[in-house]
Symmetry: C2
Subunit: 448 residues, 2 copies
């Protein structure tokens, strides 16, 4: 592989993991980050406060030797805890097996950990408050401005664009639309989100169950809450922008209390805290970005959200981005030049990033609506039972979340077949206890 | 309606028709056009040389009183003339009814005609070699540079973006993606096109049948030819970029003659002429653009290809754009302010521009492949018979092409149902002469 200076644009989670790995492999790496250094500022790390780290993401952290350290920063979430309108609780385990849980982790803490590791290998690699000014693909040169506004010129450089959903690098590819026959789509949900914080209790305790991802599913809207190590929870409201039960309604202060009391009755005591943050925090948008090609000759490659931004409802955005780094690392092993490396990376990943994008859109409906449905709950109960009894059975959720050896695309295909089959079974059989698991598992195995 | 200066960006076909109509309605209108005045230059008018003008487009020309004048510039095309590989010909009429034909017209001649009409109403409206420099939606002001590079500032202006598939105005909306929750997609076909000219015969005669749209359907590629008033034909090759029978192959000069002889045997005499142009002319790309919203408050609206670029296989790109002007004109009658005018325009048009985009993609397959298919030809024969006998029967093609009173969306829905039904009939009945048209028409009417 020809020796090039690798310029990573965007030192968020994916850019930082990628930079670290490339430094470990011995490349000359620089990372440009628009924002100030997270580690010495009080700013947040981007669009959402915490994330659900699962097996695909852990594989990325394993690759750079930081898996255990990341786990120390996390709070395990072993189940979905469903809160009904009346305040009743029901836990639905993510899996019956040891080690199959997801991990709530702060975006900022994780990013800082990766940056610290980069600094240890090359303290000059990370350039904060720095901006890509110009890219000349013919001459393979870039100009960028550092935090003092000093302009640097780099030649013989490869751009790796990990600059997120609103990627500047992707816009550079878009300017070459005709030449690249660049396919592109951005599509917004009719839903936005707002983050609120449920603080620790007076004695520093978790106010709702710690090791769970909490969901208040309400059909056309929902709230979720993820635990933080300091015993607080980050709650996120997902609401339509307009119509009945929407941000349009919640934005009217006099309607808000009644609304919270009615729909989130078990949280009624914390309304004042929520209300204060509601006023302060902005509404975030949810959108999916797909594009192709991800590269420009052997001169630029997009990775992570820059190439494939997804909505957060499978908890896979970061996990998918980290898996990009794992696959890219494999491609570096398998290819002899950058061009074939970039092309085989996209060939391997595009089908899978498309699959997780579609799965995430499906799962939004599942989370806000179907988890409250009796058939869905029976199906989950049955699946947990199957997962407990048969080590080779994995639900769609488990395939996506706990089986990095199965691609997103294969997980989607098998998972959908299983779901369809099990919903039929649950529908035909009122009493799921009367189902013979030995027969059922054979039928499910036949779907593979 | 508040009186505003209307600044039309792009004086192509749609921009010119729109500008003319708005001048006729008494608005203050300026049109900025990047290119020099077509009427005093030898340049072409854009991406393709001639177009198929049909009833929806004619409605737009009728609105400004130029229908008859446009018809004088056109050559009627009454049928599809299918050329087999062996050189056999078969004509498939577009319709059995009087007045239902399509019209081959030069893009440049049509555009010049519209510009002349604009000049008659306001000789200062058209500004050539002029560029939009800056748009400030808050202040509703723009800056633009005229052909001498002099910068003008305009306040209290409404932008109407008719600047085509690669619209600069649409890019301005895209910069407001988050605020507008701007949905956008551009998707390229794996096919490109190249235009060639078949000149008039030695005595100035048409070398192939005049009043026809000629097609050489070859499955995964095709050539078409449209007549021009000077007795030449504009031929267009539609080929995959890569693979067997692709531009990649045709780009090799030593393979080209054998290829033409084999696939376009009845054109073999003209190979040298084609070959010369093949070397000179660029390969054009085919892509579909969809987006939403088309407007920014009451300050900007996209129309025509800028809002909805489609591939050319239904011959509806310009017709759809002209229909935009007709519907916009209706919206000006029906609405009291610009905001509701823009919103109701999109509400009326988006569903229909999406439909014609999808129909055009379907029709590409039909033109290059199915027209050569026996069942398809039987179905067309049957439909022509039905159209001749029953004044209320219209095929999908006729609904789209000759019935501007039926929306594209409704034409698509009914047309697809009819197609499905007739293909079944043709499939079950070997001899179509034995089909009772009185029974069949009743079955088809039931689909409405």
């Amino acid at each position: 592989m020809e020796d090039k200076h690798l310029l990573i644009v965007g030192a968020g989670l994916v850019g930082s993991l990628l930079g670290l790995r490339l430094l470990q492999r011995g490349y000359k790496v620089s990372l440009l980050e628009l924002r100030p250094d997270l580690r010495s500022s009080s700013q947040s790390a981007g669009r959402s406060i915490n994330l659900a780290l699962s097996h695909r993401g852990l594989r990325g952290l394993e690759l750079v030797g930081l898996r255990d350290k990341a786990m120390e920063l996390s709070v395990k979430m072993r189940e979905r805890m469903i809160h009904s309108s009346a305040g009743q609780l029901m836990g639905l385990a993510y899996s019956a097996r040891e080690g199959e849980y997801i991990n709530s982790i702060s975006r900022k803490a994780l990013n800082c950990m990766l940056m610290d590791a980069i600094d240890q290998l090359d303290p000059k690699a990370l350039q904060f408050e720095s901006k890509l000014l110009d890219w000349n693909p013919q001459q393979q040169s870039v100009q960028w401005a550092d935090q003092n506004g000093i302009v640097h010129k780099l030649d013989n450089v490869i751009l790796l664009g990990t600059d997120g959903a609103n990627s500047q690098c992707r816009k550079l590819l878009m300017e070459q639309s005709q030449k690249l026959r660049f396919n592109y789509s951005q599509s917004y949900q009719n839903y936005g989100y707002k983050e609120l914080t449920l603080p620790p209790g007076p004695g520093g305790e978790f106010l709702i169950k710690k090791e769970a991802l909490h969901i208040w599913p309400r059909g056309h809207f929902m709230m979720i809450a993820l635990p933080n190590p300091d015993a607080s929870f980050t709650c996120t409201l997902f609401f339509p922008y307009r119509g009945e039960d929407s941000f349009e309604i919640l934005d009217q202060p006099d309607l808000r209390k009644e609304f919270f009391d009615r729909h989130f009755s078990d949280m009624a005591d914390y309304f004042e805290i929520f209300n204060e943050e509601y006023e302060k925090n902005p509404i975030g948008h949810l959108y999916t970005v797909k594009c192709s090609p991800w590269s420009y000759e052997d001169k630029m490659l997009l990775m992570g959200d820059a190439a494939h931004a997804i909505i957060p409802f499978y908890g896979q955005g970061m996990n998918c981005g980290f898996e990009d780094v794992v696959i890219f690392d494999e491609m570096l092993n398998q290819n002899k030049n950058w061009l074939s490396c970039f092309q085989s990376f996209e060939k391997a990943r595009k089908i899978n990033s498309d699959a997780i994008a579609d799965l995430a859109e499906d799962n939004f409906l599942e989370m806000r609506d179907r988890v409250a449905d009796l058939d869905f709950q029976k199906k989950r109960t049955l699946e947990i039972k199957l997962e407990k009894e048969f080590s080779d059975y994995f639900s769609k959720y488990s395939l996506v979340t706990f089986r990095p050896d199965v691609s997103y695309h294969d997980a989607m295909q098998l998972g959908r077949k299983q779901d369809e089959y099990l919903l039929q079974v649950v529908n035909n059989e009122k009493d799921i206890d009367s189902i013979n698991p030995l027969i059922l598992i054979e039928q499910l195995r036949a779907l593979r």
